[in-house]
Amino acid sequence: MNSVKRKKLIDNLFTYGLVVFCWIAVQALSATGHMTNQINGLLVPICMYVILAVSLNLTVGISGELSLGHAGFMCVGAFSGSFFTKLMAEAIPSLQARFIIALVIGALTAAFFGVIIGIPVLRLRGDYLAIVTLAFGEIIKNVMNVIYVGVDNGMLRIAMEKKANLNLSENGRVIIEGAMGITKTPKASTFTIGIVLVLITLFIVQNLINSRTGRAIMAIRDNRIAAESVGLNITKYKLLAFSVSASLAGMAGVLYSHNLASLAAEKFDYNMSILILVYVVLGGIGNIRGSIISAIVLTLLPELLRGMNNYRMLIYAIVLIIMMIANSAPSAIAARERLLEKFQRKNTKEAA
């Protein structure tokens, strides 16, 4: 039994190691001047997508709930985090300090939304849950598009639909400006912070999975009725997984919003949620390391295809379909297993 445990531990450590290795590799490459600007600029987004993929895997893979609203939580996190950073520009001069607090605030706000959305919707199952989470994501986006928040004389003012409704005084400033969103959030995200956040995400998700709580979540996924019969509180654990996943997405949102000078709600539509779902499914449902790898590969792929101009997204689509069929089609799996078997047999023969 201990050997199994050790295997699991090594497996987990390998995942951390992979992340740390990426960091070291990147540092080494930039130290020796082998780094292109393009790759350099992609480092923070890759970290962000890895966090998103791993956190969505917690909902989809571990908890077994199909969510199409992950981008909504990211949106909430991004806006609350950026809002804080801009609001406290004078009160807390250190950008790093503000950014760290913003990360916490983003995660907490998203977790809060995870809970209030999760309570009603987690009763639904399968495709109904999918459409409801999609709907929530779209509602969040739609509302963020018409909300105005300003501050004057130490007072926060919130209005809908038009800036004039804020009734700001002369010295006031608008922080969230409807469809324009938040502009000029100072750039605080770095690759190192991104990697640290990835490690935190992995730490939370992996430790959660390999604990009493994680077992309960997976048990509910595998068989809800049996889980209830052994005394598990279904709502509690489903909600827990959902809100932890939401809060990590919120954190990724803060990382996103502190990487770009322009933050707008339109980015966080269902296409974004689906994009993250693609990472999760392609990496293997429930497979954390798979999520990491597929997030990296699929973020890089369209960027590396830039040379192809117009054919870029076409190729991306074809690659996606082929990979899905190669990975999931029963006949493809069988063929691959036959091939592997043949290969192994050959190896053993050679060894003999």
């Binding site: 292109t36 350099n40 890759i46 324009m180 322009s262 590396l304």
Partner: protein, 407 residues
Amino acid sequence: MKKLIGLSMAAVLAASLTACGGSNTAETTAATTDAAVAQEENEDGTGESAEEAPSGETFKIGMIGPLTGDAATYGLGVRNAVELAIKEVNEAGGMNGYQVEYKPEDDEHDPEKAINAYNALKDWNMQILIGAVTSKPCIAVSAESAADNLFQITPSGSAVECIAEPNVFRVCFSDPDQGKASAQYIAENKLATKIGVIYDSSTEYSTGILESFRPEAEAQGLEIVAEEAFTANNATDFSVQIDNCKEAGAELLFMPFYYTEASTVLKQCADKEFAPIFFGVDGMDGILSVKNFDTSLAEGVMLLTPFSADEAGSQAFVEAYKAAYSDTPNQFAADAYDAVYAVKAAIEQGNITPDMSVSDICEAMKVAMTEITIDGLTGSQMTWTEAGEPNKEPKAAKIENGAYVMQ
């Protein structure tokens, strides 16, 4: 393990495709875990160090805009016009005697992708950037270009914040200017007093114009009787919005959004027999070139625009553009075309040469831009302020007999 095989397939595919794509000379290294690493290892000589040492014989101008996705029609216009203008410039001897190389990159109208595009262009040793085409990506890119001190001129980034950085200039009007100018024009020409507005609440362009239109209209004694929104998600059926404006007794319909939606609104207004004065902004420009659009629907539409494809001064450009891309240029294309000539003028004014560093070029350009005056498609005697804002008069055009007529 199975998944790993699949993913490594992808990695191999990605690497090999890049190789034949020609932008990088990547070997088909199959790194399962980190395609990035594989990529980087093959990037000898094009790293940061190389950036400081451009070839010195040609100017390298990059362009960023949406070439795919919902907003592609704007980005493609800019891309084509820049390409056209640079071809002309090169044929006429280049800028300050140097030939110009040009490379467009797609941002899909997404700030995140715009940064990626920017970085890809930096790897190409871009010295001057024309873009980004749309406001939000433009703002995102401007933060990066400011950090690099790289000269940027956006043809069409109209939000105020687009040129907040000192190194960024623009060719088009800003959104607030347009809103204000529209209200003033309506009031001065006594077009109407009761105004209905339909706008796109999901874009900053539309809301930005409306935000400044509102107070100015009020100041001018105009009454906004209806204010109806749509969003990108439901930009197909405008019947409710039109009905509401009609019922409120609007004599003029202010339409601060792009011609794509405007053409639909006009058709639905016609279906509903609602015929106020239609008043658009520069985004309306291009409506006549929409394929298969029944131009009689746009008869009498007024718009504030600096450019008209039918104007005498722009004939040559329009002809050349049509010949090259079998498409009528829109105002985005015109702005982009002007941007290239503004860059050319500034380079020559400041006697800038391609062997200068990116930062030096930027500093020189910043000064030169305020010193030049050009007669472009989108305005005659255009000059620029130090803040990067162009000085040009918005002109009102009216569509008569299927053509823009300057008022």
